[in-house]
Amino acid sequence: MQNISTGISLQPSIPKKKHKKILLAHGGGGRLSNDLIQQLFFDRFQSTLLSTAHDGAMFSVPKSRLAFTTDSYVVHPIFFPGGNIGDLAVNGTVNDLAMCGAEPLYLSAGFILEEGFPIDDLERIVETMKRATETAGIELVTGDTKVVERGKGDGIFINTSGIGQIPDQVDISPQHASEGDCILLNGNIADHGIAIMSEREGLEFETSIQTDSAALNGLVGTMLQASKNIHVLRDPTRGGLASSLNEIAMASKIGIRIEEDKIPLAEEVKGACEILGLDPLYIANEGKLLAFVPEKDAKAVLQAMQNHPLGKNAVIIGRVVKEHPGHVSMKTFIGSMRIIDMLTGEQLPRIC
Protein backbone atom coordinates (compact mmCIF):
# COMPACT_ATOMS: atom_id res chain seq x y z
CA MET A 1 0.00 0.00 0.00
CA GLN A 2 1.16 3.55 -0.63
CA ASN A 3 2.63 5.35 2.33
CA ILE A 4 0.34 8.22 3.07
CA SER A 5 1.85 11.01 5.13
CA THR A 6 -0.31 11.93 8.12
CA GLY A 7 -0.15 15.58 7.16
CA ILE A 8 -2.29 15.28 4.05
CA SER A 9 -6.01 15.31 4.48
CA LEU A 10 -7.76 12.42 2.77
CA GLN A 11 -10.76 14.62 2.11
CA PRO A 12 -9.61 17.04 -0.61
CA SER A 13 -11.37 20.38 -0.56
CA ILE A 14 -11.30 20.82 -4.35
CA PRO A 15 -14.20 18.99 -6.07
CA LYS A 16 -12.84 15.93 -7.86
CA LYS A 17 -13.53 15.14 -11.48
CA LYS A 18 -15.37 11.81 -11.43
CA HIS A 19 -13.54 9.51 -13.78
CA LYS A 20 -15.47 6.85 -15.63
CA LYS A 21 -12.56 4.77 -16.78
CA ILE A 22 -9.27 3.66 -15.29
CA LEU A 23 -6.32 5.76 -16.39
CA LEU A 24 -2.65 4.92 -16.23
CA ALA A 25 -2.36 7.53 -13.51
CA HIS A 26 -4.62 5.48 -11.26
CA GLY A 27 -1.75 3.06 -10.81
CA GLY A 28 0.93 5.69 -10.54
CA GLY A 29 0.98 6.16 -6.78
CA GLY A 30 -0.03 9.81 -6.90
CA ARG A 31 -3.21 11.74 -6.09
CA LEU A 32 -5.39 9.76 -8.49
CA SER A 33 -4.16 6.45 -7.07
CA ASN A 34 -4.82 7.51 -3.52
CA ASP A 35 -8.30 8.74 -4.35
CA LEU A 36 -9.14 5.48 -6.04
CA ILE A 37 -7.94 3.39 -3.14
CA GLN A 38 -9.76 5.59 -0.65
CA GLN A 39 -12.97 5.42 -2.61
CA LEU A 40 -12.85 1.73 -3.43
CA PHE A 41 -11.31 0.20 -0.35
CA PHE A 42 -10.84 2.31 2.73
CA ASP A 43 -14.35 3.77 2.63
CA ARG A 44 -15.86 0.38 2.01
CA PHE A 45 -14.01 -2.24 4.02
CA GLN A 46 -14.29 -1.94 7.79
CA SER A 47 -10.75 -2.95 8.59
CA THR A 48 -8.41 -1.08 10.92
CA LEU A 49 -5.49 -2.98 9.50
CA LEU A 50 -6.43 -1.92 5.99
CA SER A 51 -7.10 1.74 6.79
CA THR A 52 -3.75 2.06 8.52
CA ALA A 53 -2.44 2.10 4.98
CA HIS A 54 0.99 0.87 5.93
CA ASP A 55 3.23 -0.90 3.44
CA GLY A 56 2.09 -4.13 5.06
CA ALA A 57 -0.52 -5.31 7.57
CA MET A 58 0.91 -6.24 10.97
CA PHE A 59 -0.71 -8.69 13.34
CA SER A 60 0.07 -11.43 15.86
CA VAL A 61 -0.32 -15.08 14.92
CA PRO A 62 -2.08 -17.64 17.03
CA LYS A 63 -0.08 -20.50 18.53
CA SER A 64 -1.23 -23.02 15.98
CA ARG A 65 -0.21 -24.12 12.54
CA LEU A 66 -0.99 -21.67 9.80
CA ALA A 67 -2.14 -22.19 6.26
CA PHE A 68 -1.09 -19.76 3.54
CA THR A 69 -2.35 -19.76 -0.03
CA THR A 70 -2.42 -17.59 -3.15
CA ASP A 71 -4.39 -17.62 -6.35
CA SER A 72 -4.90 -15.39 -9.36
CA TYR A 73 -8.20 -14.79 -11.09
CA VAL A 74 -8.39 -14.11 -14.81
CA VAL A 75 -11.88 -15.39 -15.65
CA HIS A 76 -13.78 -14.25 -18.73
CA PRO A 77 -16.49 -13.06 -18.89
CA ILE A 78 -15.91 -10.97 -15.76
CA PHE A 79 -19.61 -10.89 -14.93
CA PHE A 80 -21.48 -14.18 -15.25
CA PRO A 81 -24.79 -15.60 -14.03
CA GLY A 82 -24.84 -15.46 -10.24
CA GLY A 83 -21.54 -13.67 -9.72
CA ASN A 84 -18.39 -12.01 -10.93
CA ILE A 85 -14.61 -12.25 -10.68
CA GLY A 86 -14.78 -10.66 -7.22
CA ASP A 87 -16.74 -13.59 -5.76
CA LEU A 88 -14.24 -16.03 -7.15
CA ALA A 89 -11.26 -14.01 -5.91
CA VAL A 90 -12.45 -14.11 -2.31
CA ASN A 91 -14.20 -17.50 -2.18
CA GLY A 92 -11.47 -19.24 -4.14
CA THR A 93 -8.78 -18.28 -1.65
CA VAL A 94 -11.03 -18.84 1.38
CA ASN A 95 -11.74 -22.32 0.00
CA ASP A 96 -8.08 -23.13 -0.51
CA LEU A 97 -7.57 -22.34 3.18
CA ALA A 98 -10.63 -24.39 4.11
CA MET A 99 -9.26 -27.36 2.14
CA CYS A 100 -6.29 -27.27 4.50
CA GLY A 101 -8.76 -27.44 7.37
CA ALA A 102 -7.92 -23.83 8.23
CA GLU A 103 -10.23 -21.12 9.52
CA PRO A 104 -9.63 -18.04 7.36
CA LEU A 105 -8.06 -14.99 9.01
CA TYR A 106 -6.59 -12.45 6.62
CA LEU A 107 -6.74 -11.73 2.91
CA SER A 108 -4.65 -9.64 0.52
CA ALA A 109 -5.85 -8.46 -2.88
CA GLY A 110 -3.72 -7.30 -5.78
CA PHE A 111 -5.39 -5.77 -8.84
CA ILE A 112 -3.94 -5.37 -12.30
CA LEU A 113 -6.28 -3.14 -14.26
CA GLU A 114 -6.24 -2.37 -17.93
CA GLU A 115 -6.29 1.28 -18.91
CA GLY A 116 -9.89 2.07 -19.92
CA PHE A 117 -11.52 -0.44 -17.56
CA PRO A 118 -14.87 1.05 -16.42
CA ILE A 119 -14.70 2.24 -12.82
CA ASP A 120 -18.36 1.35 -12.29
CA ASP A 121 -17.49 -2.26 -13.06
CA LEU A 122 -14.57 -2.06 -10.65
CA GLU A 123 -16.89 -0.69 -7.94
CA ARG A 124 -19.30 -3.56 -8.51
CA ILE A 125 -16.51 -6.09 -8.25
CA VAL A 126 -15.04 -4.60 -5.09
CA GLU A 127 -18.48 -4.34 -3.48
CA THR A 128 -18.98 -8.02 -4.27
CA MET A 129 -15.64 -8.79 -2.67
CA LYS A 130 -16.65 -6.89 0.43
CA ARG A 131 -19.81 -8.93 0.81
CA ALA A 132 -17.93 -12.13 0.17
CA THR A 133 -15.36 -11.34 2.88
CA GLU A 134 -18.17 -10.66 5.35
CA THR A 135 -19.93 -13.92 4.53
CA ALA A 136 -16.72 -15.90 4.84
CA GLY A 137 -15.56 -14.08 7.95
CA ILE A 138 -12.17 -13.15 6.49
CA GLU A 139 -10.61 -9.69 6.76
CA LEU A 140 -9.05 -7.86 3.79
CA VAL A 141 -5.97 -6.25 5.30
CA THR A 142 -3.64 -5.27 2.51
CA GLY A 143 -3.60 -4.85 -1.22
CA ASP A 144 -2.13 -3.27 -4.30
CA THR A 145 -3.35 -1.68 -7.50
CA LYS A 146 -1.47 -1.39 -10.78
CA VAL A 147 -2.60 -0.20 -14.17
CA VAL A 148 -1.23 -1.44 -17.49
CA GLU A 149 -1.58 0.13 -20.92
CA ARG A 150 -4.64 -0.56 -22.98
CA GLY A 151 -4.20 -3.87 -24.80
CA LYS A 152 -1.77 -5.26 -22.25
CA GLY A 153 -4.29 -6.71 -19.83
CA ASP A 154 -7.65 -8.43 -20.15
CA GLY A 155 -9.71 -5.81 -18.28
CA ILE A 156 -8.92 -6.94 -14.77
CA PHE A 157 -6.74 -9.56 -13.11
CA ILE A 158 -6.97 -10.15 -9.36
CA ASN A 159 -4.56 -11.99 -7.12
CA THR A 160 -5.60 -12.86 -3.60
CA SER A 161 -3.53 -14.50 -0.89
CA GLY A 162 -4.90 -15.78 2.39
CA ILE A 163 -3.75 -16.82 5.83
CA GLY A 164 -5.71 -19.14 8.08
CA GLN A 165 -5.21 -21.09 11.26
CA ILE A 166 -5.50 -24.83 11.51
CA PRO A 167 -7.12 -26.31 14.62
CA ASP A 168 -5.14 -28.91 16.56
CA GLN A 169 -5.68 -32.57 15.65
CA VAL A 170 -6.68 -31.62 12.13
CA ASP A 171 -4.21 -33.13 9.67
CA ILE A 172 -5.46 -32.86 6.13
CA SER A 173 -3.29 -33.59 3.11
CA PRO A 174 -3.76 -34.96 -0.40
CA GLN A 175 -1.32 -37.69 0.59
CA HIS A 176 -3.50 -39.03 3.39
CA ALA A 177 -6.15 -40.90 1.45
CA SER A 178 -6.20 -44.54 2.48
CA GLU A 179 -7.83 -47.74 1.38
CA GLY A 180 -11.44 -47.95 2.45
CA ASP A 181 -11.98 -44.20 2.74
CA CYS A 182 -15.38 -43.01 1.57
CA ILE A 183 -15.41 -40.11 -0.89
CA LEU A 184 -18.02 -37.46 -0.11
CA LEU A 185 -19.20 -34.66 -2.41
CA ASN A 186 -21.38 -31.79 -1.20
CA GLY A 187 -23.64 -31.26 -4.21
CA ASN A 188 -24.26 -30.78 -7.93
CA ILE A 189 -21.21 -30.53 -10.16
CA ALA A 190 -20.39 -28.42 -13.22
CA ASP A 191 -22.75 -25.52 -12.43
CA HIS A 192 -20.00 -22.91 -12.53
CA GLY A 193 -18.40 -23.96 -15.79
CA ILE A 194 -21.75 -24.18 -17.54
CA ALA A 195 -22.83 -20.78 -16.19
CA ILE A 196 -19.66 -19.28 -17.68
CA MET A 197 -20.12 -21.10 -20.96
CA SER A 198 -23.71 -19.93 -21.35
CA GLU A 199 -22.39 -16.39 -21.85
CA ARG A 200 -19.63 -17.26 -24.29
CA GLU A 201 -19.98 -15.85 -27.76
CA GLY A 202 -20.95 -18.50 -30.26
CA LEU A 203 -22.28 -20.88 -27.61
CA GLU A 204 -24.96 -18.83 -25.89
CA PHE A 205 -27.93 -20.64 -24.46
CA GLU A 206 -30.72 -19.72 -22.07
CA THR A 207 -30.49 -21.29 -18.71
CA SER A 208 -31.27 -20.62 -15.08
CA ILE A 209 -27.96 -22.18 -14.04
CA GLN A 210 -25.81 -19.86 -11.95
CA THR A 211 -22.33 -20.17 -10.58
CA ASP A 212 -22.08 -22.15 -7.36
CA SER A 213 -19.32 -19.85 -6.06
CA ALA A 214 -19.43 -19.98 -2.26
CA ALA A 215 -17.14 -19.89 0.77
CA LEU A 216 -16.88 -23.43 2.10
CA ASN A 217 -15.19 -22.73 5.43
CA GLY A 218 -18.49 -22.87 7.35
CA LEU A 219 -19.33 -26.25 5.84
CA VAL A 220 -15.84 -27.56 6.57
CA GLY A 221 -16.19 -26.33 10.15
CA THR A 222 -19.31 -28.42 10.74
CA MET A 223 -17.69 -31.42 9.05
CA LEU A 224 -14.67 -31.18 11.34
CA GLN A 225 -16.98 -31.01 14.32
CA ALA A 226 -18.49 -34.31 13.25
CA SER A 227 -15.02 -35.83 12.86
CA LYS A 228 -11.46 -34.51 13.17
CA ASN A 229 -10.38 -37.59 11.26
CA ILE A 230 -10.96 -36.25 7.73
CA HIS A 231 -8.04 -37.36 5.57
CA VAL A 232 -8.33 -35.21 2.45
CA LEU A 233 -10.28 -32.16 1.40
CA ARG A 234 -10.17 -30.75 -2.12
CA ASP A 235 -12.24 -28.23 -4.03
CA PRO A 236 -12.56 -29.39 -7.65
CA THR A 237 -12.13 -26.09 -9.51
CA ARG A 238 -10.47 -26.00 -12.94
CA GLY A 239 -10.37 -29.44 -14.46
CA GLY A 240 -13.37 -30.53 -12.44
CA LEU A 241 -13.99 -33.56 -10.29
CA ALA A 242 -11.93 -35.85 -12.50
CA SER A 243 -8.76 -33.78 -12.24
CA SER A 244 -8.96 -33.44 -8.46
CA LEU A 245 -9.56 -37.15 -7.99
CA ASN A 246 -6.60 -37.98 -10.22
CA GLU A 247 -4.34 -35.59 -8.32
CA ILE A 248 -5.30 -37.18 -5.01
CA ALA A 249 -4.93 -40.71 -6.39
CA MET A 250 -1.40 -39.86 -7.50
CA ALA A 251 -0.44 -37.98 -4.33
CA SER A 252 -1.66 -40.73 -2.00
CA LYS A 253 -0.67 -43.53 -4.38
CA ILE A 254 -4.07 -45.18 -4.05
CA GLY A 255 -6.85 -46.16 -6.44
CA ILE A 256 -10.20 -44.43 -6.55
CA ARG A 257 -13.45 -45.92 -7.74
CA ILE A 258 -16.56 -43.78 -8.17
CA GLU A 259 -20.06 -44.52 -9.45
CA GLU A 260 -21.55 -42.55 -12.31
CA ASP A 261 -25.11 -42.85 -11.04
CA LYS A 262 -24.16 -41.34 -7.66
CA ILE A 263 -22.80 -38.10 -9.10
CA PRO A 264 -25.33 -35.29 -8.59
CA LEU A 265 -25.99 -33.17 -11.65
CA ALA A 266 -28.69 -30.54 -12.24
CA GLU A 267 -30.94 -31.45 -15.17
CA GLU A 268 -30.10 -28.22 -17.01
CA VAL A 269 -26.38 -28.77 -16.60
CA LYS A 270 -26.85 -32.24 -18.03
CA GLY A 271 -28.77 -30.77 -20.99
CA ALA A 272 -26.04 -28.21 -21.67
CA CYS A 273 -23.32 -30.87 -21.48
CA GLU A 274 -25.23 -33.13 -23.87
CA ILE A 275 -25.70 -30.52 -26.57
CA LEU A 276 -22.14 -29.19 -26.38
CA GLY A 277 -20.60 -32.65 -26.07
CA LEU A 278 -18.90 -31.88 -22.75
CA ASP A 279 -18.14 -34.28 -19.93
CA PRO A 280 -19.36 -32.77 -16.61
CA LEU A 281 -16.59 -34.57 -14.72
CA TYR A 282 -14.09 -32.14 -16.20
CA ILE A 283 -16.04 -28.92 -15.74
CA ALA A 284 -15.10 -26.34 -13.11
CA ASN A 285 -16.87 -25.88 -9.78
CA GLU A 286 -16.49 -23.00 -7.32
CA GLY A 287 -18.55 -24.10 -4.33
CA LYS A 288 -17.92 -27.82 -4.14
CA LEU A 289 -15.64 -30.00 -2.10
CA LEU A 290 -14.52 -33.60 -1.98
CA ALA A 291 -13.82 -35.17 1.39
CA PHE A 292 -12.02 -38.46 1.97
CA VAL A 293 -13.25 -39.84 5.27
CA PRO A 294 -12.56 -43.19 6.94
CA GLU A 295 -15.59 -45.44 6.64
CA LYS A 296 -16.44 -45.38 10.33
CA ASP A 297 -16.78 -41.59 10.31
CA ALA A 298 -18.43 -41.21 6.92
CA LYS A 299 -22.03 -41.34 8.05
CA ALA A 300 -21.57 -38.66 10.69
CA VAL A 301 -19.72 -36.35 8.32
CA LEU A 302 -22.29 -36.88 5.58
CA GLN A 303 -25.09 -35.99 7.94
CA ALA A 304 -23.28 -32.86 9.08
CA MET A 305 -22.93 -31.86 5.42
CA GLN A 306 -26.57 -32.51 4.63
CA ASN A 307 -27.61 -30.33 7.56
CA HIS A 308 -25.65 -27.38 6.16
CA PRO A 309 -27.07 -25.13 3.40
CA LEU A 310 -24.07 -25.82 1.14
CA GLY A 311 -24.33 -29.58 1.56
CA LYS A 312 -28.02 -30.40 1.14
CA ASN A 313 -27.30 -32.65 -1.85
CA ALA A 314 -24.24 -34.23 -0.25
CA VAL A 315 -23.62 -37.82 -1.24
CA ILE A 316 -20.99 -40.56 -1.14
CA ILE A 317 -19.72 -40.98 -4.70
CA GLY A 318 -17.13 -43.70 -4.23
CA ARG A 319 -14.27 -45.15 -2.25
CA VAL A 320 -10.56 -45.57 -2.11
CA VAL A 321 -9.55 -49.00 -3.39
CA LYS A 322 -6.33 -50.92 -3.60
CA GLU A 323 -6.69 -51.66 -7.34
CA HIS A 324 -4.98 -49.44 -9.95
CA PRO A 325 -3.05 -47.15 -7.56
CA GLY A 326 -2.65 -43.67 -8.96
CA HIS A 327 -5.71 -43.99 -11.17
CA VAL A 328 -9.41 -43.32 -11.03
CA SER A 329 -12.08 -45.70 -12.34
CA MET A 330 -15.81 -45.28 -12.63
CA LYS A 331 -18.69 -47.74 -12.76
CA THR A 332 -20.76 -46.39 -15.68
CA PHE A 333 -24.53 -46.15 -15.94
CA ILE A 334 -24.58 -49.52 -17.65
CA GLY A 335 -22.46 -51.25 -15.07
CA SER A 336 -19.13 -51.44 -16.89
CA MET A 337 -15.84 -49.99 -15.66
CA ARG A 338 -14.12 -47.04 -17.28
CA ILE A 339 -10.89 -45.23 -16.43
CA ILE A 340 -11.27 -41.50 -15.77
CA ASP A 341 -8.09 -39.95 -17.08
CA MET A 342 -6.52 -36.54 -16.47
CA LEU A 343 -7.77 -33.74 -18.70
CA THR A 344 -5.70 -33.00 -21.78
CA GLY A 345 -5.74 -29.28 -22.46
CA GLU A 346 -9.03 -27.44 -22.39
CA GLN A 347 -12.28 -29.30 -22.95
CA LEU A 348 -13.81 -27.84 -26.13
CA PRO A 349 -17.43 -28.05 -27.31
CA ARG A 350 -17.84 -30.43 -30.23
CA ILE A 351 -20.33 -31.48 -32.90
CA CYS A 352 -18.85 -34.89 -33.59
Partner: protein, 83 residues
Protein backbone atom coordinates in the same frame (compact mmCIF):
# COMPACT_ATOMS: atom_id res chain seq x y z
CA UNK B 1 -19.56 -38.01 -36.01
CA UNK B 2 -22.76 -36.28 -35.45
CA UNK B 3 -23.42 -35.48 -31.89
CA UNK B 4 -27.18 -34.96 -31.94
CA UNK B 5 -29.46 -34.72 -28.93
CA UNK B 6 -33.22 -34.97 -28.44
CA UNK B 7 -35.04 -31.92 -27.09
CA UNK B 8 -38.59 -30.59 -26.85
CA UNK B 9 -39.80 -27.76 -29.08
CA UNK B 10 -40.98 -24.83 -26.97
CA UNK B 11 -41.21 -22.07 -29.58
CA UNK B 12 -41.59 -21.90 -33.36
CA UNK B 13 -41.27 -18.75 -35.45
CA UNK B 14 -42.54 -19.46 -38.96
CA UNK B 15 -42.27 -15.81 -39.95
CA UNK B 16 -38.51 -16.18 -40.15
CA UNK B 17 -36.61 -17.67 -43.01
CA UNK B 18 -35.31 -20.26 -42.36
CA UNK B 19 -37.89 -21.22 -39.76
CA UNK B 20 -36.30 -20.92 -36.33
CA UNK B 21 -37.43 -21.87 -32.87
CA UNK B 22 -36.38 -22.74 -29.36
CA UNK B 23 -35.71 -26.25 -28.17
CA UNK B 24 -35.34 -27.21 -24.52
CA UNK B 25 -32.79 -29.81 -23.45
CA UNK B 26 -33.46 -30.67 -19.84
CA UNK B 27 -34.45 -27.03 -19.28
CA UNK B 28 -31.60 -25.40 -21.21
CA UNK B 29 -33.03 -23.53 -24.17
CA UNK B 30 -31.20 -23.06 -27.42
CA UNK B 31 -32.13 -21.34 -30.62
CA UNK B 32 -32.52 -24.07 -33.29
CA UNK B 33 -33.30 -24.06 -37.00
CA UNK B 34 -36.53 -26.02 -37.51
CA UNK B 35 -36.80 -25.48 -41.26
CA UNK B 36 -36.44 -29.11 -42.30
CA UNK B 37 -39.16 -30.65 -40.15
CA UNK B 38 -42.59 -30.21 -41.71
CA UNK B 39 -45.68 -29.77 -39.56
CA UNK B 40 -43.81 -29.34 -36.36
CA UNK B 41 -45.80 -28.46 -33.25
CA UNK B 42 -44.84 -27.16 -29.85
CA UNK B 43 -44.34 -30.14 -27.59
CA UNK B 44 -42.86 -32.32 -30.34
CA UNK B 45 -39.42 -33.79 -29.79
CA UNK B 46 -36.65 -33.22 -32.31
CA UNK B 47 -33.10 -34.48 -32.67
CA UNK B 48 -30.72 -31.52 -32.89
CA UNK B 49 -27.25 -31.38 -34.44
CA UNK B 50 -25.12 -28.21 -34.68
CA UNK B 51 -28.16 -26.01 -34.06
CA UNK B 52 -30.46 -27.75 -36.59
CA UNK B 53 -33.33 -30.17 -36.08
CA UNK B 54 -32.35 -33.11 -38.33
CA UNK B 55 -35.39 -35.29 -37.59
CA UNK B 56 -38.55 -35.37 -35.57
CA UNK B 57 -38.20 -37.94 -32.80
CA UNK B 58 -40.93 -40.49 -33.37
CA UNK B 59 -42.22 -41.02 -29.85
CA UNK B 60 -44.23 -44.08 -30.84
CA UNK B 61 -41.12 -45.75 -32.22
CA UNK B 62 -39.18 -44.80 -29.11
CA UNK B 63 -41.79 -46.37 -26.86
CA UNK B 64 -41.96 -49.37 -29.17
CA UNK B 65 -38.21 -49.91 -28.81
CA UNK B 66 -38.40 -49.64 -25.05
CA UNK B 67 -41.33 -52.04 -25.05
CA UNK B 68 -39.31 -54.55 -27.09
CA UNK B 69 -36.51 -54.28 -24.56
CA UNK B 70 -39.00 -55.02 -21.79
CA UNK B 71 -40.28 -58.06 -23.65
CA UNK B 72 -36.72 -59.24 -23.98
CA UNK B 73 -36.33 -59.01 -20.22
CA UNK B 74 -39.46 -61.07 -19.73
CA UNK B 75 -38.25 -63.65 -22.21
CA UNK B 76 -34.86 -63.98 -20.50
CA UNK B 77 -36.40 -63.97 -17.07
CA UNK B 78 -38.89 -66.60 -18.20
CA UNK B 79 -36.00 -68.75 -19.45
CA UNK B 80 -34.23 -68.41 -16.11
CA UNK B 81 -37.32 -69.49 -14.28
CA UNK B 82 -37.82 -72.47 -16.54
CA UNK B 83 -34.24 -73.64 -15.95
Amino acid sequence: MCLAVPGIVVEIDKSLFPVMGKVSFGGVQKSVCLDWIPELAIGDYVIVHAGFAISRLDENEALESLKLFKELEEKLFGQDEAQ
